[in-house]
């Protein structure tokens, strides 16, 4: 079904890091191929968070005690680490609940800039356009639908082709001189497509539009330098990069963040408050309302240390090979259609398929019974699936701890699915 893979090139040291992940050891019979949904956490991350909670935990940025000082320092050190990891300055990183929240901070901020702010340069006017692609995750679509509804702006999109990918030409065709913002995923969570970020950033510049990069599937897997990419905003999540749930980050160019009104308000965001009015601190504090995910930030800092320890280049090379194995494994199976770039083309280690005659839920259930844990459903990308003429698909995704053997098991089990459900007759 598939030829012997070039396993020699795979970085086996990386997959040996499996030992750091207790959850992998806990399920020896299971191949966890759902890291694009959420990654497992290594002991180093869990230990760092726990040590912090047991030694240095206290309120952050509130009060002046020694305890507060130690906690605040740990919290801000984590911000520096994460900022450095993505090529940003520390005050360009805002903590959020998750990547979805980060995108909403921008969408809600632009709503307020358009409706209640006085003379904001960021205001959208009726007829202005927000540009996305048909392949976006709901997290990078619904907030823009709401922004459009609140401001009278119009949503436009680059369509996807029969394989589910969009092109820069398609994006250009959908753009106009009313385009104010282009929001797009760096790496698609369904097709594995890697977007031509530089081209999009240039298109945006030529139109005077802002850009927002959904970096959920790139920051954990590739070396990403947001400053060098030239995007205005970016969003990513801790839990997809070996860190805790409950924390994500918004990146924004300092000048834009400081111009964006905070739509979610509360303690620690202000300098002066009266009963009727408030003055807000500069970014990032103006957006960090209430007690922040403090120990989660420390955990995310440790995750970044862990990733840096291996090196993002190395992780990316490993996953590129796994991506090759995954597409090969899938390509040979009759009745299984590969979504996204064809075998051999660049892609992330995210491979979704449609199995002829078998619903994705049933495919997933069968794979589960063979110890292969994949994701089934629309992966929060209904418009993309609709364009492909299906409601759901089956997705396997890899991370640094994924082994070629796991990919083998996925391929072998997938090859049996149609026979089990009688779809091969």
């Amino acid at each position: 079904m598939r030829t012997t893979p070039p396993r020699d090139d795979l970085d086996l040291a990386l997959t040996q890091s499996r030992r750091d992940f207790a959850s992998i050891g806990h399920h020896p019979g299971r191949a966890y191929l759902d890291s694009a949904a959420t990654a497992q956490r290594p002991a180093q991350v869990l230990d760092a968070e726990r040590a912090f909670v047991e030694r240095d935990y206290a309120a952050v940025h509130r009060g002046a005690s020694e305890a507060v000082g130690a906690a605040t320092e740990a919290f801000e050190t984590a911000r520096h680490k994460v900022a450095g990891f993505v090529g940003a300055a520390a005050d360009e990183i805002v903590w959020t609940e998750n990547a979805t929240d980060a995108i909403n901070v921008v969408a809600l901020g632009l709503s307020d800039a358009s409706t209640i702010a006085v003379d904001s340069a960021l205001a959208l006017r009726p007829g202005d356009e927000i540009l996305v692609t048909e392949a976006e995750h709901h997290a990078n679509l619904l907030p823009w639908q709401k922004l459009a509804a609140r401001t009278g702006a119009v949503l436009r999109w680059a369509p996807v082709g029969p394989d589910g990918t969009w092109s820069i030409d398609g994006l250009r065709d959908a753009a106009s001189d009313r385009t104010r913002l282009i929001a797009f995923a760096h790496v698609s969570n369904v097709t594995g497509l890697i977007a031509p970020v530089a081209d999009v950033a240039e298109l945006a510049r030529s139109l005077g539009a802002m850009t927002l990069l959904d970096a959920c599937q790139s920051v954990p897997h590739l070396p990403v330098d947001l400053g060098a990419l030239g995007v205005d905003f970016a969003a990513f999540s801790g839990h997809k990069m070996l860190g805790p749930t409950g924390i994500g980050a918004l990146y924004g160019r300092a000048e834009l963040l400081n111009a964006l009104p905070p739509a979610r308000t509360g303690g620690s965001t202000i300098t002066t408050v009266t009963m009727t009015d408030a003055e807000f601190l500069p970014a990032p504090q103006r957006f960090e309302a209430g007690t922040q995910p403090v120990s989660q930030a420390v955990g995310l800092g440790a995750a970044v240390d862990y990733l840096d320890g291996w090196g993002m280049d190395r992780i990316h090379a490993h996953e590129t090979e796994l991506a090759g194995l995954l597409t090969e494994a899938v390509a040979g199976i009759p009745g299984v259609r590969l979504i996204g770039p064809p075998p051999g083309a660049p892609r992330a280690a995210i491979v979704s398929v449609d199995v002829e005659g078998v619903h994705a839920h049933d495919v997933g259930q069968f794979l589960d019974s063979r110890g292969v844990s994949v994701r089934v459903g629309h992966h929060c990308a209904q418009p993309l699936h609709r364009a492909l003429g299906i409601s759901a698909s089956t997705r396997a995704s890899a991370y640094l701890y994924t082994t070629p053997g796991e990919v083998d098991r996925f391929g072998a089990a997938l090859a049996e699915v149609r026979a089990f459900f009688g779809a091969d007759r």
């Binding site: 839920h361 259930q365 069968f366 019974s369 409601s391």
Partner: protein
């Protein structure tokens, strides 16, 4: 019997193919569409209550083998029954599906008893419930 075969019993795979009751739901007086949030599948149930209090129904939509088989089994079981009995059956089915394999089906659920195996798979309970929930809502409109 392996886990998988406990879930996909012959009766279920068979009903998933036969699709009893699949039809033009839109032509019925009362209709309700229910959506499965994970896969986005929609199922519409159409129902009419006759003068004698018995119901006739049809369903429409695509789904996995569990939701399709469930719709088929349900149609076979409830076509021509009273609305009251349909409500009782929906309640009994829900109760069984929430039991995580602990609760046996009452006799009047007939073939629907095979879904007891599905109730152990928390993420598939919604698939099996889809047609029953839609029927409940459609019957609700009938008053």
């Amino acid at each position: 019997m392996s886990d998988l075969e406990g879930l996909y019993q012959e009766v279920i795979l068979d009903h998933a193919r036969r699709k009893i009751g699949q039809g033009d739901a839109a032509s019925f007086v009362h209709q309700h569409t229910e959506v499965s949030p994970t896969c986005g599948d929609r199922m519409t149930i159409g129902v009419a209550v006759g003068d004698d209090g018995t119901i006739s129904l049809a369903w429409e939509g695509q789904g996995c083998s569990i939701s399709t088989a469930s719709a088929s089994v349900m149609s076979e079981l409830l076509e021509g029954s009273t609305a009251e009995h349909a409500h009782e059956s929906i309640d009994a089915f829900r109760s069984m599906m929430r039991s995580r394999g602990a609760e046996e089906a009452p006799e009047f659920l007939g073939d629907a008893e095979v879904f007891q195996g599905v109730s152990k798979y928390v993420m598939r309970v919604k698939c099996a419930m889809l047609p029953w929930v839609a029927l409940e809502a459609a019957l609700g409109q009938a008053g």
